[in-house]
Symmetry: C2
């Protein structure tokens, strides 16, 4: 593992999401199970930590884990039916970024709970923004990503990856 995240801001998401997405894309090109170790050295990342992300994907039902000597991970569904949002929610959790603390019900001028039938305006705006974010991630599938990679890096790229993944290690 070389360097951590370079994030400067504070609104940040788990760095493992990037790893998980790359793994899903490369798993598009293979049919046999691929162990976590192999995926880790392909991306040059920590094998132990990548395993944790793959476990999250397994728990969410996006990939199927096969144990034993020729075991590894395989995609369970068609790549076109797996959205980026699915992966993000599997790794980073399904909870929204913003959670209303109901400040309006606190302090000397607290609004009575009976008057709080509608959600706080602030929470409403945040919820809407979160919905827009999720919708943008839902419209893109893993298959779309793979197609995009083929368009930019050439169709030979994923073929080489597939060959490297299925070949016994150096």
């Amino acid at each position: 593992m070389i360097g951590g995240l370079i994030t400067v801001g504070r609104v940040k998401m788990s760095g493992g999401v990037e790893w998980a997405l790359h793994c899903c894309v490369v798993l598009t090109s293979v049919e046999e199970p691929v162990p976590a170790t192999r995926l880790a050295e392909l991306h040059d990342v920590s094998a132990s930590y990548l395993a944790k992300q793959l476990q999250a994907l397994s728990r969410a039902g996006l990939v199927r884990s096969v144990q034993g000597k020729a075991g590894g991970y395989v995609l369970t569904r068609e790549p076109a039916s797996i959205t980026v949002l699915d992966v993000v929610e599997a790794v980073d959790g399904p909870s929204p970024a913003f959670t209303c603390t109901e400040i309006r019900q606190r302090g000397p001028l607290a609004t009575p709970a009976e008057a709080c039938t509608t959600p706080c305006p602030i929470a409403r705006v945040m919820g809407g923004a979160d919905a827009a974010w999720r919708e943008a991630l839902r419209t893109v599938s893993i298959a779309d990503l793979a197609q995009d990679v083929a368009s930019t890096s050439g169709p030979t790229a994923l073929a080489r990856v597939s060959a490297w993944l299925t070949t016994p290690q150096t």
Copy 2:
């Protein structure tokens, strides 16, 4: 200070954003400077920590700090010209949630840097989602929030807040 955040997921933003937004909304109803201490006890939150958020707003130029005996914080611009995104970026930082680590340039099958003219497909999707999120926050202003509060809690609500803020403390 009663309880912290109840966030379960991992994609989370600073909790102070909620405080800062509430402060901006209530500052709509006053013209004289309001000290951080007063705002803190109105919301029943830590005064010392709220001060930090207000400092961030001051640094971003959203509020103006007045020192001295009758000092405090005042909005610099018209509430209609301050967007929710302005506040979020001031407190939580302007950086996007996702930062590409350029995994494709690492490992045995690394893509050469010369071939990376276009950004990584994954980064592109994440960037688009982040743009949609920011756009949703940009379309709502502090004035809109205040208006929304008046619609739900009644027009008397902000008047009472204004009166309480300008009245010497209990």
